[in-house]
Amino acid sequence: MSEELESNARGRRVSPALVVARREWVELLRDARWVALVGIVVALIVAALAVGIVERSRQTRERAAAAEGDRRVWTAQGPKNPHSAAHFGQYAFKPIGLLAIADPGVDAYAGSAVYLEAHKQNEDRFRSARDLGSMSRLARLSFAFVLQIVLPLIAVILGHSAYSGERERGTLPLALGLGADPRALFLGKALAGASVLLGLLAIATAVLCLGIAIFLPEVELEADFFARLAGLVPAYAIYILGFFGLALAVSAAARGTRTAFVSLLVFWMLNGFVAPRVAGDIASRLQPLPTGQAFRDGIAEAKRAQFGHDEKHPAFVAFRNRVLAEYGVDRVEDLPVSFRGLSLREDDHAGYRIFDEQFGRLRDLVARQDRLRSWAGFAFPLLALQPISTAMAGTDNAHHHEFIRSAELHRRRIQDAASAELMEHGGVDGRAYVAPASLWEAIPSFSPTFPDARLAWRGRSLDFLRLGGWSACCWLAAWAATIRPRAA
């Protein structure tokens, strides 16, 4: 190998590292098993894309139809009291981001719809995971699955025998004995392996873009898509390259191929399967979430201070007295606006504060759990990669909370519109007032806008730092181990 390396370097003025890389490529190409393995990975990528596109198209179609149907139902109410219509409410269906094709993230485990009704902010409902069956808990075919789990395994298989295999065959001591530069060897092997892995990532990215362009022609690839892709692809590149760096380091330092392989497999399993579960468990023990009952009890307790529809409630009496004083009148009948509408609006606004506080606390707890979970990303890179991947795909908790927030804002718009209509036209009591059916047309339905890429990038710097730090450490370890590789 050394002679070939030197002559190539001298004769053709080719970098020795490139010679080594070329030799590695040729070996890989000649190995039918490698060709088959790469073929299987590409097939998995294509299959994952197909499933992603089919699923997203179906869900988007269903939710659009449901939103249209809900609009029909809402506008079909006929003449009705506005507050009665607010009780009937609307449904908000969660929008699906384009890159959910690549990483479905938490979408199946978070509700897909929220019922928007008077007086209360409801929790999201309809987790599709319930309908998926227990087998999907073992693994779910997606781009993210292939890139997060399968590609690192390929990196391990590719790199584990890079040094240990040559040492066992006796070619490494021979090459080093003949004066081959260990740095050139390292760079060549790194270049060869990295190019294979980055090539697979490039194929995955190209398949993703082509798949969207061909099968989702109604979707325009805008700047937001590329801003998200600009976070997604480098993160995966850093992750996969880190694994290959680790494989080279372990291969150079280990006693033999078997030890290197077993050690790398153990790490692969810890990273892919054990760490996410243990980190999730620790996070939920340190920052436990309330049970549904406790959460609803908390809201009910806070709402006891509100008057709701109880006209004997001290808060109601106090509010009525305040309004009368503000308007300088003695009776609600003398008010220039409907007191009924005013009291409903007052009660709603008091409720908004309670919901903001209670749901805000819950959202903060979930965010704290997620942050705790990703702390171990310095050691187990999947824990740093997953938040980046799901954020860029728009399928993380932050995007879900944004949907909940915008749905709640829409609910408040409905409540405020109903109360305003009552205040203006409701008369003294307001209960007898019947608004024309045209009012329901005037109150819009929930029109979901998918958050832009800024939300995806917000707070991701630490995850990138953890991921980049881990990857850099792996490559430094590889460099250190290969500069003076074990000869035996």
Binding site: V54, R58, V106, S136, R277, Q386
Partner: protein, 501 residues
């Protein structure tokens, strides 16, 4: 090493001879392994994983019990408050509330929300083994007389990231980690002998190579099985396991682990029988592991998802809402309901407890409920078809079969949840009948009626794995055993003509 003379008259039968070879081989393996740090480390790692999994499972069960207790306390409190108010109204000590939805005599409203029954699926003693469906369904379902979609699809509060990541339960340890440990320990059971040059010596003896290897694997891998099961029993015992009720299920779980270990052992033997190097064996098995545990289930799940898409729950929402609008439009009930909810008591509400308006509201509930029932039945059928396809395709996948079997053994599998949901369906019917009948007559609920509220039947059969579940477990374990045999037989045939290398 195995010098057994076939012509020795003291060696009467091939069966006894095989037993002797097996014992000798196992004894030799034990002598070599007892100083092997790697083997002891693997055993320690197995014990640690199982102990942690049991503690995670125990914590989940305790959390669930606490949530159920909270919901039951809430139910008791609600009913006590209603009964107390009703008693005062009956005695004339308190005026009737000015809104029907606060009136404890109003059957339509009490049945619809205030009196809702808190229903929970009781955990089996083996529940810590697998979370199964328990984290996807609410811990407590509040059955009320409204449409079923109103209470069946209320989700428990959970971090979706945690649900996505899954739980570190015993099922995870056995399905995912256990085979990896078996592969790490057993992948070179034959190839190492060849590489060390001891295979020729073994072959020189008249002993069957299969028997020799099985003897080695019994010690090498059987040790892991013993540690896994021993730690499981010790962990459960330490956390107060009810052995009187849980022993049969625990024995089935132990059998499942042994059969699963037999499958991976057979696969290891099969790979070894090809005469490849230890490195190649390790690579092949390392590829087989994710292929069987991850890729194949993911592919099957994806195929089922494409062929039978998940039911569109949004359709059910729409149907229920359309039914409400239809009835409201027909009978102008919307305005009446509003008045019922917001107006002070009027003359029309002074007589029988449910006036025309309440009955009309009731009509909306009944129509919406009927529509929801129809759609839910269709959607459940659709979901069943999807699961059926996935299960048929998974019949050659031991990890998927074992995962499902352990979920069933833990009482958190599909059959027990389906059984529970069917019971809820029947109870919902009973509940509706109880409240709709007086509501439609306009009759008032009395304190005596409160004492007769339907209670969710505590079927003793629900405190164990349902018969359908047992059949399913038996079928799954039989399939895994069959697949083990299918791996073992070609391995045995190949090992009859081994290459010394």
């Amino acid at each position: 090493m195995f010098e057994i003379d076939a012509h020795d008259p003291s060696n009467p039968s091939p069966r006894r001879r095989r037993a002797s070879v097996l014992a000798t081989s196992a004894a030799c393996e034990w002598r070599s392994l007892r100083f092997d740090l790697g083997w002891w480390s693997a055993l320690a790692a197995s014990a640690l994983c199982v102990a942690y999994a049991v503690s995670v499972g125990r914590a989940r069960v305790e959390q669930r019990s606490a949530a159920v207790a909270q919901a039951r306390a809430d139910e008791t409190d609600r009913l006590a408050r209603l009964t107390d108010l009703l008693r005062k109204i009956e005695r004339g000590e308190a005026p009737a509330p000015d809104a029907p939805y606060r009136d404890p005599r109003n059957a339509a409203y009490v049945g619809r929300g205030q009196g809702a029954a808190a229903v929970a699926l009781e955990d089996l003693p083996t529940a810590p083994l697998a979370s199964g469906l328990s984290d996807l369904y609410p811990q407590v379902i509040k059955v009320a007389s409204g449409p079923k979609d109103g209470f069946l699809f209320t989700d428990e509060i959970a971090n979706p990231t945690r649900l996505l990541g899954g739980e570190f339960d015993f099922a995870f340890v056995v399905v995912f980690l256990f085979p990896a440990i078996l592969i790490a320990l057993g992948h070179d059971v034959l190839s190492a002998e060849r590489e060390q040059g001891t295979l020729a010596m073994t072959l020189a003896a008249s002993a069957s190579l299969t028997v020799v290897l099985v003897g080695k694997l019994i010690v090498r891998l059987g040790g892991v099985v013993v540690v896994v099961l021993g730690t499981l029993v010790a962990g459960l015992a330490a956390s107060g396991f009810d052995f009187a009720r849980g022993t049969p299920a625990l024995l089935i779980a132990a059998a499942a682990v042994v059969i699963y270990a037999a499958f991976w052992t057979s696969l290891i033997l099969l790979v070894n029988s090809f005469g490849l190097s230890s490195a190649m064996n390790a690579t092949s098995l390392a590829v087989a592991w994710p292929a069987l545990i991850l890729v194949a289930p993911a592919a099957i799940s994806a195929w089922a998802e494409v062929v039978h898409p998940a039911p569109a729950r949004s359709l059910m929402i729409l149907a229920v809402r359309s039914a409400a609008v239809d009835v409201e439009r027909e009978r102008a009930a919307a305005e009446d309901r509003f008045r019922d909810e917001h107006a002070p008591r009027s003359d029309s509400f002074a007589g029988p407890i449910a006036d025309a308006r309440t009955r009309e509201t009731l009509a909306v509930t009944i129509a919406a409920d009927r529509r929801a029932d129809e759609i839910l039945a269709e959607q459940e059928e659709q979901a069943r078809r999807r699961r059926g396809l996935a299960e048929r395709l998974a019949f050659a996948l031991p990890p998927a079969l074992l995962h499902d079997a352990l979920e069933e053994i833990a009482g958190n599998g599909r059959t027990r949840w389906d059984d529970f949901l069917e019971r809820i369906d029947r109870f919902h019917g009973e509940w509706k009948a109880f409240f709709f009948e007086p509501a439609s007559r306009g009759a008032a609920l009395t304190t005596a009626d409160y004492a007769r509220f339907p209670r969710f039947p505590q079927d003793p059969a629900s405190a164990r794995i349902p018969d359908r579940g047992l059949l399913r477990i038996a079928g799954e374990l039989f399939a895994v055993a069959l697949l083990s045999l299918l791996c073992f037989l070609p391995a045995h045939l190949r090992l009859r003509r081994p290459t010394p290398g």
